[in-house]
């Protein structure tokens, strides 16, 4: 029997299941519900919203407008002010509210999430998202204010930005902070623009940015994005920056060195201060990728390590939700040398307790050397309220405990796994907030992806796979501080079993996952023949092809 769901969509392959499971008529499996695409169930004349019944006072001269709840499609409305550019309809299907709630609720259940279980994605810091943060961000005084309201009407918002800025400065021991960057990579951009502006101010046209091999891809991409040439610097056998190699490359053409600390192997760079001193001696600046600040918050001030700029991912260290891929927020703390060049706008506080947004009109007086604006408006306010709520909840003591517990949890995993998984840097001592393993020792033909997919069947999100690039078949495990010991023990038991199966060459690993909403997906086909939007079926049932859905349809 072929599975049929309400849209009439049928699986493209025969319904016979490899393992001989009984197939249902609907394709559903109890709580595992298949959900068609919106475009297969929605209708252009269906809607889940309504409006006040008398929109405009009748008889206003020269403004004859058709009633808002008329039929869709072209309705020339003489007397409007649209300049003759009325649209002939737009092919957007709608659903009633109950259908909408069901559509998205069903889809949500096909996602793994922190709320469901351990999410040990290294470098990504998937910690619990406290719901108080959500509640505070939704206070009308924060959620329902316009970015261009007169400043006297948004003093509380400016206070939040200023207060969070002050916390970030104190926690990092830096001189200033730029709050407007929209995400970590945008923060990297901010830091490099500060550096470039500072170099230009002294007439120094340096062209090269040095980046360790183990860096996040955003580091070299950001350097290239603002016009720098990127060169790699190697790592030592202990997974740290090779200081001697770095020193030998430093020279008058090097503008900056981008270092992640703790680094992407989950290790603290013990020579960080020496690196900074060497870079400064060569006339360059140190950019620190702060993606892993959560491991040291309250324990080490990055400012003590001699860095010039560092972005802080509020969605990592300060637990604003990842939301399926964003929005993030990436404030950048800067040294005294870079502060004059930071972006506008920012929130300044005054002795009388008032706050002012320093933007274009006041830069001449208050911030004349700024490199300018990076974004419309003032940054990710909704993330600032969440992050500040998180920080106030933890306080200086709680934040240090966060760092300690995250490091403790990661080392617990490291030492519980190292006899069955190759841990390339375990010999050099403890890790920080994440433990790294390689696929060395797996049977021929078995790799990291097989371990990852088998973890899915065990009810865990996989670790970060194949990153950083300096470790073969890397598995980067970051448990975070919000996991209990019982959760860690269960995860360790599952991972140990899977690792042993990979070493033994257990073929059943290749089939994993078998219990997820989908089996392994064909990413090659997706890239070779990209289908990036839904095409309405043509009347004869064949595909209309990309781009055939213009206009009224």
């Amino acid at each position: 029997m072929t599975a049929v769901n309400p849209s009439g969509w049928r699986p493209t392959a025969p319904s016979a299941n490899d393992s001989g499971e009984t197939q249902t008529v609907t394709g559903n499996r109890a709580l595992m519900l298949e959900e068609p695409l919106l475009f297969e169930i929605g209708k252009r004349d269906q809607t889940g919203v309504d409006f006040d019944s008398s929109p405009a006072k009748a008889g206003v001269q020269g403004v004859a407008i058709a009633a808002p709840d008329g039929p869709p499609g072209p309705q020339p409305s003489p007397g409007n002010r649209l300049g003759g550019l009325e649209r002939a309809g737009v092919d957007l299907p709608g659903l009633s509210e109950p259908e909408t709630v069901r559509h998205y609720t069903r889809l949500s259940r096909q996602n793994y999430a922190i709320d469901l279980g351990l999410f040990p994605l290294g470098s990504c810091t998937m910690k619990h998202n406290p719901r108080l943060n959500e509640k505070m961000a939704r206070l009308p005084g924060f959620a329902d204010i316009h970015p261009l309201q007169p400043q006297e009407t948004v003093q509380g918002a400016l206070e939040v930005i200023n207060k969070l800025a002050e916390w970030l400065i104190q926690l990092t021991g830096m001189y200033g902070v730029a709050m407007s960057p929209k995400a970590g990579a945008h923060g990297e951009l901010c830091g490099l623009l500060c550096i470039r502006a500072a170099l230009e101010a002294r007439g120094d046209a340096r062209q090269v940015v040095l980046v360790p091999e183990s860096a996040h891809g955003t580091n070299p991409a950001t350097a290239a994005f603002c016009g720098y040439r990127v060169e790699n610097i190697p790592a030592t056998k202990a997974g740290r920056v090779d200081l001697e190699a770095l020193k030998s490359r430093l020279g008058p053409d090097v503008a900056a060195v981008m270092i992640t600390n703790p680094n992407t192997c989950g290790l603290f760079e013990p020579q960080m201060k020496d690196i900074s001193d060497a870079v400064h001696a060569a006339g360059a600046f140190v950019y620190c990728d702060g993606a892993n600040f959560n491991a040291i918050v309250g324990k080490v001030k990055p400012g003590d390590l001699g860095i010039d700029a560092m972005h802080i991912n509020l969605h990592k260290t300060f637990s604003t939700p990842h939301g399926g891929g964003g929005p993030g927020s990436g404030p950048v703390v800067v040294s005294k040398a870079l502060a004059p060049y930071g972006p506008i706008p920012f929130s300044a506080s005054y002795a009388d307790g008032s706050y002012k947004l320093v933007e274009e009109e006041s830069t001449g007086d208050e911030h004349p050397d700024t490199f300018g604006r990076m974004v419309a408006f003032h940054g990710q306010m909704g993330m600032f309220t969440r992050a500040l709520t998180y920080i106030l909840s933890h306080g200086a003591d709680g934040l240090a405990q966060v760092a300690e517990d995250s490091v403790l949890n990661a080392n617990y995993i490291l030492r519980s796994m190292e006899d069955v998984l190759d841990a390339p840097f375990a010999f050099s001592g403890p890790c920080m907030h994440e433990a790294i393993f390689s696929d060395k020792g797996f049977a021929e033909g078995f790799s990291t992806i097989d371990v990852a997919k088998a973890l899915i069947d065990e009810g865990f999100h996989p670790m970060t796979m194949y990153f950083p690039l300096v470790v073969h078949g890397a598995m980067l495990v970051e448990p975070t501080e919000t996991e209990s010991k019982a959760n860690l023990d269960q995860f360790i038991a599952a991972l140990r079993s899977i690792a042993e199966r990979a070493r033994a060459g257990d073929e059943s690993l290749k089939a994993a996952p078998v219990y997820a909403p989908r089996r392994r997906l064909d990413e090659t086909q997706a890239a070779r023949k990209p289908v990036l939007s839904y095409n309405n079926p043509a009347p004869d049932g064949s595909s209309t092809g990309l781009g055939a859905h213009f206009g009224g349809g």
């Binding site: 009325e86 709608g94 996602n111 970015p147």
Partner: protein, 452 residues
């Protein structure tokens, strides 16, 4: 600490397993003297949920809430009614606390949403393909200019005087470092846009023309002649939409020949939030997709032949291509894209068209009334839900004076264009479906008074 599950007994047992005498031993790579042994001085200690709630609420109370007063601000961020189900659905933990869908077998929810979002955005903007979102409209605008540079291998962008000045300034910041040339101009308080200037300035070095639609003064221009002129010389037309609700009523830029259409999606599903997070829209022609920045969800099948979705064409992106990527962008604005998509699903064409008509009707009525105030002139003769007035007085003090009367009466061009004398009397007024008759009465009365 209510968010930390480990007990002291757990910590001791775990340290024993690790073979460390104390947690600080795990920080042994930190040079002596730099490891903090006490909480950082001068900072408060942890606080209860109630205490934090009190402190945050006290700050929230210091702000004037848009929904509590007659409210007419726009210029890139708009107050629309967002149905209650939107916020409910985006707070589902499976959406809120998921990561980027790098493991597609357990992220089909997010991936299908992104695929649906891409389709909705492409159709709304009149384009063939859209990505899974950018940070916001302003950064999407700069990314579009960079994409046009890569496609045309030229570096001169001609920017309309009607582009939001914050967007222009973002582009200026970046162009200073990338070597792109920007041909910019300031707007005039005239009914006509600068389409003629744009067309006249296109030459063989031009990578793109950038036009906002409707523009910063609310005006609507037919983009077709600009697209034709640009394409005749090998340049691209980039259209910027900051009020996507307008596209329920007026032609989509893609329908008029725009090659790249970017936008700020905040209007649909995402609240004002003092400027962020918002959601950048980015759409283009299929033939340019490999030069596009940002994430893309695509359709494929799983090992059993079932339809599924994955992130695709990631060889454009930084985590694969590093310094050769099309952009350094890593995140998208996932949760805001979800909010946009849920709201758009609730609307459908019928709801969107109705919403757009309601906005336009409200705006027409308000413009009609305000332009009858002595000394007040309606600048924009075509507009959607936002128009510019030239007042007989400076607009910036007028806006502050209206605040005194409890009315948030619009955005003064003096705020957006400080020091530009010819624009100081300009007031941009946005009127959406949330504006009531009483609100319009209040604005009319307040404006009358401040214009005397």
């Amino acid at each position: 600490m209510r968010y930390l599950p480990l007990s002291d007994a757990d910590r001791s047992a775990m340290l024993e397993k690790i073979g460390a005498g104390s947690v600080d031993e795990l920080f042994r790579d930190v040079p002596e003297g730099l490891l903090l042994k006490q909480p950082i001085e001068g900072l408060p200690l942890h606080a209860s949920e109630m205490a934090v709630e009190r402190e945050m609420t006290a700050m929230a109370r210091k702000n004037l809430v848009a929904g509590e007063v007659p409210f007419f601000l726009g210029c890139g961020a708009y107050k629309h009614h967002v149905p209650a189900s939107v916020d409910h659905l985006i707070q589902r933990g499976e959406f809120l606390t998921a990561y980027t869908p790098y493991q597609p077998e357990i992220a089909q929810g997010t991936l299908q949403v992104l695929f649906e979002f891409q389709t909705q955005v492409a159709r709304l903007l009149g384009c063939e393909v859209a990505n899974a979102s950018m940070y916001d409209g302003s950064t999407a605008c700069w990314e579009a200019i960079g994409m046009a540079r890569r496609i045309t291998r030229k570096k001169k962008a001609i920017i309309s005087s009607g582009l939001h000045p914050h967007y222009v300034n973002v582009c200026k910041t970046m162009a200073r470092f990338t070597g792109d040339t920007l041909d910019t101009a300031l707007p005039n308080l005239d009914a006509a846009t600068d389409a003629e200037r744009l067309i006249a300035n296109i030459d063989g070095e031009t990578s793109c023309v950038v036009v906002q639609y409707p523009d910063i003064l609310g005006r609507i221009t037919d983009l077709t002649p600009i697209a034709e002129a640009a394409q005749a010389k090998g340049a691209l037309l980039i259209a910027v939409v900051t009020e996507p609700v307008a596209l329920g009523l007026i032609k989509a830029p893609g329908e008029m020949g725009a090659d790249i259409v970017v936008g700020e999606g905040q209007s649909i599903g995402v609240g004002l939030q003092f400027g962020g997070p918002y959601v950048g829209l980015f759409a283009t022609r299929e033939k340019y997709v490999r030069q596009m920045p940002g994430r893309l969800a695509g359709e494929t099948v799983d090992a059993e032949g079932k339809r599924g979705f994955v992130l695709t064409l990631s060889t454009r992106e930084q985590h694969i291509r590093r310094e050769k990527a099309t952009s350094n962008i890593c995140t998208n604005s996932g949760l805001c894209a979800l909010a946009f998509s849920v709201h758009m699903t609730l609307l459908g064409e019928k709801g969107l068209t109705g919403l757009a008509k309601l906005n336009h009707a409200r705006a027409c009525e308000t413009a009609e009334r305000l332009s009858k105030i002595p000394g007040v002139r309606l600048v924009s003769d075509s507009f959607f839900n936002e128009f510019t007035l030239e007042l007989p007085v400076e607009a910036r003090p007028a806006v502050h004076a209206m605040v005194e009367k409890g009315v948030l009466g619009g955005v003064s061009l003096g705020r957006l264009y400080p020091g530009v004398d010819s624009l100081q009397n300009g007031l941009v007024v946005a009127v959406t479906e949330v504006v009531s008759d009483a609100d319009i009465d209040a604005l009319e009365a307040a404006l009358k008074e401040v214009c005397q």
